[in-house]
Symmetry: C2
Subunit: 124 residues, 2 copies
Amino acid sequence: MSWKLDSDRPIYTQLIEILKIEIVSGKLPPGSKFKSVRDLAMEAGVNPNTMQRAFAELEDLELLRTERTSGRFVTEDAELIGKTRDAIASAQFDLFAEKMEQLGFSKRELVDFVNKKVEVESDG
Amino acid sequence: MSWKLDSDRPIYTQLIEILKIEIVSGKLPPGSKFKSVRDLAMEAGVNPNTMQRAFAELEDLELLRTERTSGRFVTEDAELIGKTRDAIASAQFDLFAEKMEQLGFSKRELVDFVNKKVEVESDG
DNA sequence: ATTACTGTATTAAGCGCTTAATACAATAAT
DNA sequence: ATTATTGTATTAAGCGCTTAATACAGTAAT
């Protein structure tokens, strides 16, 4: 995984976002087993308590389920996964669009800006 | 101003972003006078110390200059303002594009997604 | 001269996040 | 049966952000 953590926001919040994306993007397939709290915490370079806190949130969202002592597993609810993916994409766009509007970009200018950026990154 | 502050990130960081956008979007014109630390702090509902901290950062960036006892003023460096605006827009897009890529969207799908969202928000 | 308003600095307290160091219960593996 | 591994819980400490309460110096306004 990426584990690009900055000190500007609570780590557990960032872990939630990272793990959420891993799940809804399909990199961690439905029904697949998760690494243990301790292992993932070590891999991410954080305290097990902090990783546990992130897991608790993902369970509230039902993206993870806990099998008492054998570990955690990704949900098999494909609809939930799909809806969550769309929700994240929309939320991310809204954040971006809000900033652009505050910067004085019109809707058309926003679209033009995006097209230009994507072309540049694709062509070289 | 907006003053939409959340508790998830340091307030002074959010103040920096808000004020930066006010300046580079032209809502606070070049050379115009700023409100005092105390007034702006009260308006934003934060402690004067916290607002002061945000101001210090904007001065480091030279977007503000301090006139010892008569107050603070927006820079008149139009090029700096323009470059900063572009830099913010690019950074915001990069954040958005990175998330979309992590979610499994291709460049084309990203553009399609943006077009769709903008149309929806415009048409109703 | 006095008053009011600037920016600036300091100190102490509170709060949430994070870490460290454990400990316990339940179960899979041997 | 024993061992290892799972999730889970607790306590104490440290750290940065935030607030509160001041205080001081410089200058504009009167």
